[in-house]
Subunit: 436 residues, 2 copies
């Protein structure tokens, strides 16, 4: 059994904590067993491993989110999409990756599961059951149906029909949704199981090819269609596994606040007149809330949001008026945060965990200075190795090739100077020989 | 005519924008004629100069606020209190300063005026009238009475009595306040005029001395009494000038929000469902408010406050739970802001306007690195002059004596490293010879 975790999506509906790169599944709002906080992605990964530590997991994600996924999950298998299409191309690409790169047998049951739902552990037990249903060979496709708790107009429905068939309906009115539910309809959670070969055959017939190399190279020409549209709605030989438990979306501030196990996260003080208040403070300064009712407060490196819960649904048009680059990013090698912006300079704090390193790179239009503020490491500048520790300063002239390898946890204040500082001004090189 | 501007007070009632050093009169919330923002102190100073550009002003303030006053007003006369007492010692010290240091004639009329009220220009015209009343010589003391607009229980009252006498009453109940007002009572705004010699004589008789050197040296032994208690309530020969205009306190978030001419200051977006909302955003990240009613939001380097207006009165006990050093300070030479805090390091951004310089100083327990990010200047390290400009890095080892003089507007990222970084670890030296 192989799980494909779909970690897609992006956007600003959870601004200031989400942006083009950091989507909802990366926000750390759940208590983990060690007493810290974990993200939806980390939570789903942990829940699956709890069902069976040996289940193979591959994360299907956008190229721009690979570093973020590695930062959250470490050395996990990743199938990176060169650009965004829809769920069918994402699943097709990942299945091709599993066969051609990971050498998975076409008979292997695959379960596709999005990471952005807040669910109970038994949801993941059901994934195994779906894999077993597919492995038994009587059906081509297993879907998970979520037992509805109310006639929502926001979800897709699968409705039982004659001859063991299922009808798919997207976002009906509440009245029609109630009629569907009366007929035994379930919410379509977007969880599918199939044998690897099944989807590769379908891919071949839909897009004319199914090798990983070809699909990857021509990814942006693939049709932007959903898995339901391309596969599920056309398949006659389907079984549905029913999940009857907590299943919550976390795509808006209002729904995210509903899944917060702890109402206030971070350095937050609230008085005893606050009710139905959720606060996430990712900054390192204290936040005091007094007399707040039915509200959400979120503060991070990119901004501060103070909103009534119902009104929060309107956030998009306000966030679109903001044109500042994001100040916070989780990279494969650690975390960086912009701490000062001037016209011709940018000051950054980088946290690099022991053993990690940036890629070897140079900039055409800016010089940089590293102020090592804690830890030890090895800086490489134009091929020359240099042991550095707290208190050391490393000058990085324009065009010099540079990286730093953390021996212990390393913290750096990086001062960038140049007339045109952009994230695009970065040339990547192979690591110099003799350096790991 | 000489004006003494009393710029005292401190505290956290306007947290996160006020702290032990930065009190309400330093928060920039008023539109100035140049389109920028000005503080209450700057506003009062400008209003007085508008009445008569030649009026001499001395600011009486705490030693700890001298740098802040200079930052707001430039090269103004300052009488610094060595420690905090009350209004009588503050006025006595400043009067002694005026005679002994500034050589002001004992016959000169002096007007004492606090800076923390929001008033119209005509209030300052009245100061001149009070000086003229005192200069005429028929009375010893002129007070300003503010025409009450409602029976407040928060103010002091002066009530006309027989034989031209006035009775002083502090903070009556609203019912009693209404009775006072019916008798012609006025709010006591704490504005006094007298001849310089009058207060120096009173000082001699109350504390046994009146030379500036003696009062300054023994300041902390002076009685902690108010000017009203020490002088006004005992004086029989008083005249009262009546001010009939806007007069507002700005000592709490609720009252401060009432004097804000612009409801939202800084990088703030509000949706059209916000009502009776005041926002001050002093950070450089955007703040979005949606669906907020009767609220105050304040964000600064030290923290974020989100509060219902009425509930904001309870702020003190919550702020007392916060034990972080202030991250923002206005110094005589410019502004500094802490932008990163680690266990054994502190990163600061310093803005030094052209012509300004830090004092020549050293630290026993920390090394520093200056990263010049914009402008040009002269660094002096252990007596050695060094021309610096954007891109330069200056290493400042533990114990080295150092300063920097801004040739143009200078911006520096200063990285401090040490096991024990405190503001007290600072030894001041005279400027090295040959350097201005």
């Amino acid at each position: 059994m192989q799980v494909i975790l779909l970690s897609g999506g992006s956007g600003k509906r959870l601004w200031p904590l989400s942006n083009d790169i950091r989507s909802k599944q990366f926000i750390k709002i759940f208590k983990n067993p060690n007493g810290g906080y974990e993200s939806m992605l980390q939570r789903a990964f942990r829940q699956i491993k709890k069902v069976d530590a040996n289940i193979s997991i591959v994360v299907a994600t956008a190229k721009s989110q690979v570093s973020m996924v590695r930062n959250h999950l470490g050395a996990v298998d990743i199938s990176a999409e060169p650009c965004r299409r829809d769920t069918f191309p994402a699943v097709a690409l990942t299945c091709a990756y599993l066969r051609d790169v990971k050498k998975i047998n076409p008979d292997e049951p695959i379960v596709v599961c999005p990471v952005d739902s807040y669910v109970e552990d038994k949801y993941f037990l059901l994934l195994r059951k779906m894999a077993e249903m597919v492995a038994a060979g009587n059906i081509n496709l297993a879907l998970m149906g979520i037992k509805p708790t109310y006639p929502s107009s926001k979800y897709g429905y699968i409705i039982p029909a004659e001859n063991n068939l299922w009808v798919f309906k997207e976002k009906p009115t509440e009245q029609i949704a109630a009629e569907y539910i009366a007929k035994g309809a379930l919410w379509n959670g977007g969880i599918f199981a199939f044998k690897l070969g099944y989807i590769l055959d379908k891919t071949k017939s839909i897009v004319g090819k199914n090798s990983y190399a070809e699909i990857f190279a021509q990814y942006e020409t693939l049709p932007k269609i959903s898995f339901d549209y391309a596969i599920s709605e056309k398949e006659k030989n389907i079984a549905v596994a029913i999940y009857d438990g907590e299943w919550k979306d976390s795509g808006t501030w209002n729904t995210l606040s509903e899944v917060m196990e702890i109402p206030c996260i971070g350095d937050v003080l609230t008085d005893n007149t606050c009710t139905n208040l959720n606060v996430i403070n990712e900054t390192d300064i204290p936040l005091i809330c007094m007399g707040l009712k039915d509200m959400i407060v979120a503060a991070g490196a990119d901004g501060i949001l103070v909103t009534d819960k119902i009104q929060s649904a309107q956030i998009k048009s306000y966030v679109e008026q903001i044109h500042q680059p994001s100040r916070y990013a989780e990279k494969s090698w650690g975390v960086f945060k912009i701490i000062d912006i001037e016209q011709e300079s940018l000051t950054i704090k980088a946290d690099i965990p022991a053993g990690q390193h940036m890629r070897y790179h140079s900039h055409n239009f800016r010089a940089e200075t590293w102020n090592i503020i804690s830890g030890e490491g090895t800086a490489i500048v134009d091929g020359k190795k240099l042991s550095v520790r707290a208190g050391d300063v490393v000058n990085l002239p324009v065009n010099c090739r540079h990286t730093i390898i953390a021996k212990t946890n390393l913290k750096i204040i990086e001062v960038q100077l140049g007339k045109d500082i952009t994230i695009d001004d970065k040339i990547i090189y192979d690591f110099p020989e003799g350096v790991n």
